[in-house]
Symmetry: C3
Subunit: 121 residues, 3 copies
């Protein structure tokens, strides 16, 4: 906890995914909501098959889903969502010829049934 | 909003994913539940590693998850789910030699913490 | 139902994904919570782009999400989560030079709006 999922459509080749994940993780650390930076597990998936709406014209999206152990207030969730969206917007320049939608969603993980173990190092 | 995720197992090569996404999106527009077709963001992911149950015999699945901003009634959700399932079934012919499970799930996105921005075009 | 998603980072090449899914499915059957083994639909996705925290050092994770039709008790969910985590740990040996986090999350699927159909065989 937390888990961050970033999906991005394949028509955004200029997006530097490694840089994006590092910035998002730094943003989560800076929020003060997480005791240990090591707990932040983020991944990005390129979406090769996608369709935005039904119209013509090339469209794209980046969708970030942040999953948190349940219990945080609506205010904290909204702050996290806004700060992640601002970080996405700062990944500019975005392509001018595409309509790109950036979205951030916060979801609860059921705390009572979450299990975790560390192995290896 | 809405976000649609379609997963399909890799043993369904005859599935025309682009056609499927377009039909699903047209179905969502036709539901009258969404103000702007542009808001519908759909993606499909081929699942290369999968296992259905523990038995022998080749099996497959297509799983559609529709994520909606919270607030819609159970009746609306059930209608959306049923109509998406009907659209999946209409993607026939399905392979006769495989046991294929088609599933549709509706999930709420927490409206209060959802953030979105449009960039580019 | 149930749906199991396993994500694993790409720096775990020794992980035998097919074996893992089969063991997890056998564990779910053994739990006695599911009427038919055929209903268990599991998939694994390799995560090529990921970042754990902000520190240096190589890190990895395996994240299992089990989605169940709503209605099971917190005790049942915790038992399922613990047993899946134990199965992950038993997929040893894990690499000694990596810090690997194993996580299991249980999530409800809204029962009222879930739709399913079988086609083919």
């Amino acid at each position: 906890m937390p888990h961050l999922h970033m999906e991005y459509t394949a028509n955004l080749p200029q997006l530097d995914v490694d840089k994006a994940l590092l910035r998002l993780n730094h943003g989560l650390v800076a929020s003060g909501q997480f005791a240990d930076e090591f707990d932040i597990k983020s991944r990005a998936v390129k979406v090769e098959s996608f369709r935005v709406g039904t119209g013509l014209g090339e469209r794209a999206f980046v969708h970030v889903k942040l999953a948190l152990l349940s219990g945080r207030s609506p205010e904290i969730k909204k702050q996290l969502s806004d700060s992640l969206l601002a970080l996405l917007q700062d990944l500019a320049p975005w392509p001018a010829e595409l309509a790109v939608q950036l979205c951030v969603e916060i979801i609860d993980i059921d705390r009572a049934s979450y299990s975790k173990a560390a192995v290896g190092l």
